[in-house]
Assembly symmetry: C2
Homo-oligomer: 215 residues x 2
């Protein structure tokens, strides 16, 4: 039975993914259900199953949509640390545009092949640069965690940490949050400082591993 109000625009996977992404952006990951997506595209829920098998498949299609925005072109072209930095910045931009996806995608088992292809590019670059294969996933994973935590901080309101909210007796944090330091204490500068430190630390670890093995 077609509902009177039913939209005439043809339904397809791309349109369902766009509707799912808009739904998560507006209402959060918990709101994502086949029923809610059907309502958004003005269709019966049963008709969605001609295009996607399940909510789980829809989540993986949304993941693929976001991963498509993450630039992995530096891997294989640039040294591993330079590539990792450019990947991290691109990854941050992709998720900061969709903060409600962070929790959903960070805690749903990955089945999307394009995500594994991205990981293959990262891990291949690390391994061919001499990283032991047993460390490669952990290196990639900790950079991802750093990026996702920073993305949450970046989407926080600008008065997240406000000097005016600090009582006078907490003099040091109050002084550190003086607006004259605003260019360095924001979430963006903190991300850049942290990413630089993380990469420095990874370079040190890589050099030590090399030194202990010999040429």
């Amino acid at each position: 039975m077609r509902r009177k109000s039913e939209d005439a625009t043809p339904i397809n996977r791309e349109r369902l993914v766009a509707a799912a992404l808009a739904l998560v952006d507006e209402e959060g990951g918990d709101a994502l259900s086949m029923r809610a997506v059907a309502k958004r595209v003005d269709r019966q829920v049963s008709s969605l199953y001609n295009h996607v098998a399940s909510r789980g498949e829809l989540v993986e299609l949304v993941r693929a949509r976001i991963v498509a925005d993450i630039d992995v072109s530096a891997f294989g072209r640039e040294p591993w640390d330079v590539a990792l930095e450019s990947w991290a910045r691109s990854y941050l931009t992709a998720f900061a545009a969709h903060p409600n996806l962070i929790r959903l995608l960070a805690t749903t088992p990955i089945r999307d092949v394009s995500t594994f292809a991205m990981y293959d590019a990262v891990v291949s670059s690390l391994v061919s640069s001499g990283w032991p294969i047993r460390d490669a996933v952990a290196v990639m994973r900790t950079v991802e965690a750093h990026v996702l935590g920073s993305a949450l901080d970046i989407v926080a309101p600008s008065d997240m940490l406000a000097q005016s909210a600090v009582p006078p007796e907490l003099a040091t944090i109050r002084a550190a949050l003086d607006p004259e330091h605003a260019e360095s204490y924001g979430a963006g500068p903190a991300f850049r400082l942290g990413l630089e430190a993380l990469l420095t630390g990874l370079r040190v670890r890589r050099q030590r591993a090399e030194a202990s093995v010999g040429p």
Copy 2:
């Protein structure tokens, strides 16, 4: 008007905070409203306002409850980097127990004084160890972001990254996810590798700043 079913247990702030925390744990941050908390403690919503002024105040009371579990005792007692590491581990444990709080607390402007007291302990330790005050908040903030991103990874299902889900043609990531490397590629080991690298990088930055200023 008292409802017949009304619970006889006296209501107080502590009980409201516990109810709010349980609600967020079970249903997510978006589900937190004065109405939903009232329902949990079996009271009229109006009676809650005798104890907390608003949803915002309730969020800050929940923040204080979590911050109370984070150990800052190492600051002032241990060198800044050792203290930062112990703080980060304690911070991770507190949030991994309540993953739905991560997004809520990371994106709600901080008004809770105990949180600022924690930050004062961190920043004071950094500044008295020679960190420039303009960098102190960024250092603290990037460690927090690293911890919160890692906490999300740690609460993910164990098959988040499963070799069996990787197609055979992606040979490198498939090899890296071989179960023989499971002890190093998990979220926990990745957090420890990343935190160690981040702290190494921060030490390098600190030493360079010192060298450029002189003794």
